[in-house]
């Protein structure tokens, strides 16, 4: 994404190609004039593939818009609500007259503001479930009490901090609401460049152009994951990026990497990358080197922070980088639009930008290695709204996947490969710990799912407790690691027929016969419950084409097609199949435990 000037951005946005993109509505509630931020927001939205429309509330009637009943700018079409409340306009006393206020007045103002925050927040939530980004109150640059202010708990800084804390707690209590930290934007831009006193006086617009640019960047760090456009993989060149110099020419001892100058720039850069790894970003290498040279540095160099284990995929050859990036995307099973590519050579950068426009390419400035760390830290491409356990384990999972691929290549045939994986399946009924993950799986899985029915936690809870339905999940573990809860089957019973309401598997565990074993287990369960036949449905969508023959290949007879949904029937009385033999163990309590429950 090129950095354009303010006027260039507005010129670009006038083009007709904006109209072709899907619309994206943002409502802005504010008590300051902040309209000049719109071009920056629209430009960033254009890069996320949306045509943004900002609707600004009337100046300083945040309360009325939020709480008032009339259908103003907050409605069900709005996808994001930005709230810009500046303390100066909300409470002139606290912002500007702090030194003259008696303590009761300070407390009174604080209470008023807290009540205001709560009622506005509730009011917004009543009207829309959109993402709320509320800008935190800025800490005073020149506190009213001077240096004494920091020393005491009753100072202005402490007061604003308390309000910010309250705001954060209030927003966390509601789902999908976050604080937009203006203080960190202020720190990045610098207070001399953040505020524009001319326009504050002319038109109550406090923020300068640089401030608006930084604020819009921060806003989009929240909106990108909302739209699923955050990046997931970082691809790195090696020479002059991870270390100074070219390893093929200068050797292990000649490259610059260490804790003192000049290697310290690269050392800190690697530390920053390692931070990203622990946040769940996938790392890959794409460099024109001999592979042994590069791995030698990873193994032997004493100051090398990145290790081979951290790298999920590497293409180290003399071919061109466009092909290599495509290969990495295929290996990792990620789209190229989730890649960020760092390289110092303008030739490579130009080539990749030309042939792979969906990849975010960052040219690291030549001879300015000391700036690399800030470039990566300020990038903000990988921000997500939460960091889950799965994110932290992602590196390990990619390693396990690479190990499996290698085993596959070494195996003679599929059967021996599957046996050597030593897979252990755990098939159980849903319980309180697994219900959230089951619901999440129904919502996220698009490819290997036969009916694509989405359920919430509460719905899964209801189904698992009902007598006429079973919610069954599958956990896979093999020699290389755990894949976690990766399969769900929901059976609904109607007389002597079992309906397979949902049958889905995460794409991580495909291609190992897991789906056969899972289906057989579930059919045995249905048979054990006394059903004479099982009905499977297939609802075709854009993404689940791979399962259209799933039932017909497994002895289900196609029966009817209702509204595009194919129905297939299996005669359970004649069903005698057993699971494939290459599983090391299948732990299942489907056929026994319910009986024990009934007896108990």
């Amino acid at each position: 994404m090129r950095r354009l000037s303010y006027s260039q951005i507005q010129g670009e946005l006038n083009a007709e190609r904006m109209a072709a993109l899907p619309p994206f509505r943002i409502a802005v509630l504010r008590n300051v004039v902040i309209e000049p931020i719109e071009p920056y927001l629209r430009y960033l939205a254009y890069h996320v593939g949306s045509n943004l429309r900002c609707e600004f509330s009337e100046y300083d009637n945040v309360f009325q818009e939020a709480v008032g009943g009339h259908k103003g700018i907050l409605n069900e079409h709005v996808e994001c609500v930005l709230v810009f409340i500046k303390l100066d306009n909300l409470s002139w006393d606290l912002a500007r007259r702090f030194a003259s206020l008696p303590p009761e007045r300070i407390e009174g103002e604080k209470e008023r503001i807290k009540a205001f925050i709560v009622s506005v927040l509730t009011g917004i939530r009543n009207q829309t479930a959109a993402l709320i980004l509320w800008s935190g109150f800025e800490l005073p640059i020149h506190p009213s009490l001077g240096i004494v202010d920091y020393q005491q708990k009753s100072g202005q800084t402490a007061c604003v901090t308390e309000l910010n804390q309250f705001l954060r707690d209030a927003l966390q209590a509601h789902k999908n609401a976050y604080v937009l930290d203006l203080n960190v934007c202020l720190a990045r831009v610098g207070s001399k460049n953040f505020y524009d006193p001319r326009y504050w006086h002319i038109g109550k617009a406090p923020y300068s152009r640089e401030a608006l640019e930084e604020i819009s960047n921060e806003v989009f760090k929240y909106i990108r994951p909302l739209k699923g456009r955050n990046k997931k993989c970082l691809v790195l060149d090696c020479d002059n990026v991870l270390w100074g110099g070219i390893v093929g020419e200068e050797g292990l001892g000649g490259i610059k990497l260490g804790r003192t100058y000049p290697g310290s720039a690269y050392y800190e850069f690697q530390q920053e990358i390692l931070n990203l790894y622990h946040r769940g970003v996938v790392l890959a290498l794409c460099s024109k080197n001999n592979a042994e040279d590069v791995w030698e540095v990873f193994r032997q160099h004493p100051d090398m922070l990145l290790r081979k284990d951290h790298i999920a995929a590497a293409q180290l050859n003399w071919g061109d980088k466009v092909t290599n990036l495509r290969q990495i995307a295929a290996d990792l099973n990620l789209g190229l639009d989730s890649f960020v590519f760092l390289d110092d050579s303008p030739f490579e950068v130009g080539q990749v930008r030309q042939y792979l426009p969906e990849v975010e390419v960052v040219q690291l400035p030549l001879d300015r290695a000391v700036e690399y760390r800030d470039i990566v830290a300020a990038g903000g491409w990988f921000d997500t709204l939460t960091i889950s356990e799965e994110d932290k384990q992602r590196g390990a999972m990619y390693r396990a996947e690479a190990a499996r691929k290698e085993l596959h290549m070494q195996s003679q045939d599929l059967e021996s490969y599957y046996s050597s994986l030593e897979m252990v399946l755990e098939i159980r009924f849903a319980d309180q710990f697994s219900i959230p993950r089951i619901a999440q799986l129904t919502q996220k899985t698009n490819q290997f799912t036969l009916t694509t029915r989405r359920y919430s936690d509460a719905q899964i809870q209801e189904l698992s407790q009902s007598e006429s339905a079973d919610v069954i999940y599958l956990q896979l573990k093999d020699r290389f690691g755990e894949s976690g809860l990766t399969g769900v089957c929901i059976l609904k019973y109607d007389g002597d027929r079992a309906l397979i309401d949902s049958f889905l598997l995460s794409c991580r565990v495909l291609g190992r016969g897991v789906e056969d074993a899972f289906l057989i287990q579930c059919m045995n369960r249905a048979k054990w419950r006394g059903c004479a036949s099982a009905i499977g449905e297939y609802r075709p969508t854009a993404k689940n084409d791979q399962v259209k023959d799933f039932y017909s290949k497994r002895n289900f007879k196609p029966v009817a097609t209702v509204n595009g949904t194919g129905c297939f029937e299996l005669d359970l009385a004649a069903f005698e199949e057993t699971e494939p033999p290459f599983f090391k163990r299948i732990d299942s309590n489907l056929v026994k435990s319910r009986a024990e429950e009934r007896d108990a």
Binding site: E249, E250, K288, W318, G319, S345, P346, F347, G350, Q351
Partner: protein, 199 residues
């Protein structure tokens, strides 16, 4: 110990590659300096047989030495001036309408810079592909190192050592080859202060 070229030949050339090498040594000897347009045609037909890909006509002037031409892949209207040394053992890919000036050396192999006295060993001998784009003009007396990529429409100035990639539409000159604007700046600033010019 056998001389390096004999050892290389014994170490892994296929029959076809061996034949091409022999033809280049003995047959090219006759046509290397064949004068006039006849010579150009002879050299063109030779390359038509041996190169991996040859689209269109190529103009190879007198005195040129092309080794391991099975690794060469040329575009349309490739032209070289006199005495150009090309070794395509690591693969050289050239685009359309490119020209190489006289006395250039384009080698797709190199010895390791860390060899420390053992440059002749197998481990130190590296082959890396060279990729030259379309519309490139490489002036006289240049050296193109192994593994380098030169983008389309680039210009490589005279007497330059190209050891890193040249971006598209770039103009580089000097040893090592740097962007022309940068070299011009340095040159002019040196001119401005006569003390540094004398030093």
């Amino acid at each position: 110990m056998l001389p390096i070229n004999v050892r290389l030949i014994l170490s892994g050339y296929s029959i076809k590659q061996l034949l091409v090498r022999v033809a280049e040594e003995y047959l090219w000897f006759f046509i290397r300096s064949w004068p006039g347009f006849e010579g150009i045609m002879l050299r063109y037909f030779f390359l038509k047989c041996t190169t991996r890909k040859l689209s269109g006509f190529c103009w190879i002037s007198q005195g040129c030495t092309i080794s391991n031409s099975y690794g060469l892949s040329l575009g349309k209207n490739f032209a070289t001036n006199r005495n150009v040394l090309i070794d395509a053992i690591g693969g050289i890919e050239v685009g359309d309408n490119t020209g190489i000036g006289p006395n250039c050396v384009v080698l797709s192999h190199e010895h390791s810079m860390l060899a420390q006295g053992n440059y002749a060993r197998e481990e130190s001998y590296k082959r890396k592909p060279i990729k030259i784009g379309s519309g490139v003009w490489i002036s006289s007396n240049c050296f193109i190192k192994a593994g380098v990529s030169i983008g389309d429409n680039a210009v490589v100035g005279a007497c330059s050592n190209v050891i890193t990639d040249v971006p598209e539409n770039g103009r580089v000159i000097g040893s090592p080859a740097r962007p022309y604007a940068q070299v011009l700046r340095e040159f002019l600033s040196k001119k401005a202060s006569p003390e540094s010019a004398n030093a």
